[in-house]
């Protein structure tokens, strides 16, 4: 017998008092060996910044991070790049981070993935990327610019980020 799940509700706009914690965005100390910087912006269906979103990144091999967006919708994490991830069918997934998005206006959280731009070969055979329409795959791959990995999250619209059913 399976008990019905407790339903989800929005994180609301005022989670700042409860959820962010100091150094939550630093899975690896900045400047440490292998540390990488991820920066991006959360945008709504009008392309406007979402200043009240909370992001969590998680990969069992590298750790858990949590960061909120600022008044410009911007967020950042410092972490290390994970290795390839085993897939349930015995195949291999390209290195990626699981990204969870909470925000005012999201009655349930959203789950997406950030893949790495320097993994062209692994990304080309990744079983999850290959389930996504080719034109939308690039929403899941960060862009390298000036030593920083840039990863925007578009909740709605033409360039809408791919989100996964969970």
């Amino acid at each position: 017998m399976t008990a019905p799940l407790t339903p989800s509700q929005t994180v609301g706009p005022f989670f700042g008092v409860g959820l962010p914690f100091e150094q939550g965005e630093q899975i690896a100390p900045p400047g440490s060996a292998g540390a990488i910087r991820i920066e991006g912006q959360v945008l709504d269906g009008d392309g406007q910044p979402v200043p009240d979103a909370l992001l969590e990144i998680w990969q069992p091999a590298t750790g858990f991070g949590r960061a909120r967006t600022d008044s410009e919708g911007a967020f950042g994490f410092t972490t290390v790049k994970p290795g390839a991830v085993p897939a349930p069918n015995g195949r291999t997934q390209a290195p990626h981070l699981n990204v969870t998005v909470f925000a005012r206006g999201l009655l349930r959280h959203l789950v997406t993935r950030m893949y790495f731009p320097d993994e062209t070969e692994a990304n080309a055979t990744d079983p999850v990327l290959n389930l996504v329409a080719p034109a939308r795959r690039e929403t899941l791959v960060a862009k390298s610019c000036g030593g920083v990995l840039h990863f925007d999250i578009r909740l709605q619209g033409e360039q809408e980020t791919v989100f996964f059913a969970i």
């Binding site: 017998m1 019905p4 509700q9 929005t10 005022f14 349930r108 959203l110």
Partner: protein, 229 residues
């Protein structure tokens, strides 16, 4: 998520809740084959946060308001208690004001109330917070919109698919039927699962009323992983 579970959750787009209109994804979510999301829940870095289940003892004085106990069990959908799992809560003060610079409700802040707590469940999956009853507050969703009193909860559970952020309400609150956030849940039984019940047995005489609220997170029975010791 199975289709049946999906029908019990609020939709992403619920126009009565205006905030969903430009934030709900318009394209269908991509469904992955079984197993791709069956990995353990995030390991919360407990050394970085202070655990405190008593929201009334964070400052030199006592907060204004009605002291309450909020307690219950965290179970997975297979009925197993979730032990030693972190429960995070945050809420408005008794006047309906959050300690947040963006909260513009003209109600007083309380210098003795922050409104946030974290605790771990025990071996039976039980959690317990001591706090003050939050007030209702206005919001600009529609004319004369007021949120029913609620406490926000955040839990991880055992697997990545167990993650839950939700809100707990109080029994008998007349604002609930008018609240689009609560009403976004499609069925009455689902909405009722977010309403705590008054718990006279746990109420402490001469001290605090108690409310009981149990939480059910998605279990991992259908996965090849086994998280029981």
């Amino acid at each position: 998520m199975s289709d049946r579970e999906d029908e019990r959750e609020p939709p992403y787009l619920y126009p009565d809740y205006v905030g969903t209109r430009l934030r709900a994804p318009a394209k269908p979510l991509v469904r992955l084959p079984d197993g791709f999301h069956d990995f353990p829940a995030p390991v919360f870095p407990r050394t970085l946060v202070e655990l405190d289940h008593d929201l009334t003892r964070r400052h030199s004085g006592e907060p204004i308001g009605e002291r309450i106990i909020v307690a219950g069990r965290v179970l997975d959908s297979d009925g197993r208690p979730l032990r030693n799992t972190i429960v995070e809560v945050w809420q408005a003060n008794a006047a309906g004001r959050y300690l947040d610079q963006d909260d513009q409700h003209p109600a007083p802040l309380d210098p003795n109330f922050t409104g946030a707590g974290r605790c771990l469940t025990d071996d039976e999956g039980r959690y317990r917070f001591i706090t003050i009853k939050p007030g209702a507050y206005p919001w600009k969703n529609h004319r004369n919109a007021w949120r029913p009193a609620h406490i926000h909860f955040s839990l991880f559970g055992s697997g990545f698919r167990s993650r839950l952020v939700t809100q707990m309400y109080f029994p008998g609150d007349p604002l609930m039927p008018r609240d689009p956030i609560l009403q976004s849940i499609p069925d009455q039984a689902g909405r009722e699962r977010l309403v705590s019940r008054f718990d006279p047995e746990a109420t402490v005489p001469e001290w605090a009323l108690a409310y009981r609220w149990d939480i059910v997170l998605r279990g991992r029975a259908a996965t090849p992983f086994e998280d029981e010791p």
